[in-house]
Symmetry: C2
Subunit: 116 residues, 2 copies
DNA sequence: CTTACGGATTGACATCCATCGATTGGTCGA
DNA sequence: TCGACCAATCGATGGATGTCAATCCGTAAG
């Protein structure tokens, strides 16, 4: 087999949040719930900084997040999981390491849902 | 005096969230905290639906939110306060009623902070 | 095989938060 | 002045959540 392990998509929700726009018409209860979930994933200082670090470097290993974020390894793992489940981050396991990268489309969806 | 009470701006933060963009460079700790605060105000199904209802009607009285949101009066009051403190909603007290309207600029700031 | 290392999971703990009943404060109509 | 109505505040409560130590699981190196 090749050197790199097969791509392991860690928590990739295929449900596109193609719901109504907040400023257009009243949101349905389910749409509001889904959008709130993704916004909840974003509403944390550590996760926002994590995202910005990954975005600035295109690809980042989990082990390289512990230091700049000044958080323990389980805490980093917890936050990456939350962001991945929200579809904002995608992780690829290569050997012992997991490399994370941003999902720009997901962020664009959130921006669109937030207004015109 | 006139018929309408003097404009009472209820919780209007003048601090512009002109911080870095998430996808551009690593966020500072303070910028991340401030942005997370506003996103936290948005990360609730009831508040998202509240926002969308106000946006759809340009101006809404608090008493007209209780029914469509199916929440008690103290709960509605709580949520409008949170949104107002985040700068997303502006309230004007006229007589016994409080009329709420959206602050589109604030929402635009959030969208911009969330990506290019 | 054994060791070392990166990462996920579990459990515990403290804190925050959404919700509502009860109360209080204003404002208008009778 | 009194009673009705709208809204804010207070206090309590149940649930969600960020954090870390301890542990477990895979993988690569020796």
């Amino acid at each position: 087999m090749g050197r790199r392990t097969a791509e392991l998509v860690l928590g990739a929700p295929d449900d596109a949040l193609c719901c109504g726009v907040v400023t257009t018409a009243p949101l349905s209860e389910s749409d509001a719930k889904r959008l709130a979930g993704i916004l909840g994933a974003l509403a944390d200082p550590v996760r926002l900084r994590l995202l910005s670090i990954v975005a600035a470097q295109h690809e980042v290993c989990s082990c390289d997040l512990e230091a700049p974020l000044a958080k323990s390894q389980p805490t980093i793992s917890h936050h990456t999981k939350v962001l991945a489940e929200a579809g904002l981050l995608v992780g690829e396991k290569r050997g012992r390491w997991v490399w994370w990268r941003i999902e720009p489309a997901r962020l664009a969806e959130v921006r669109q849902a937030l207004g015109a």
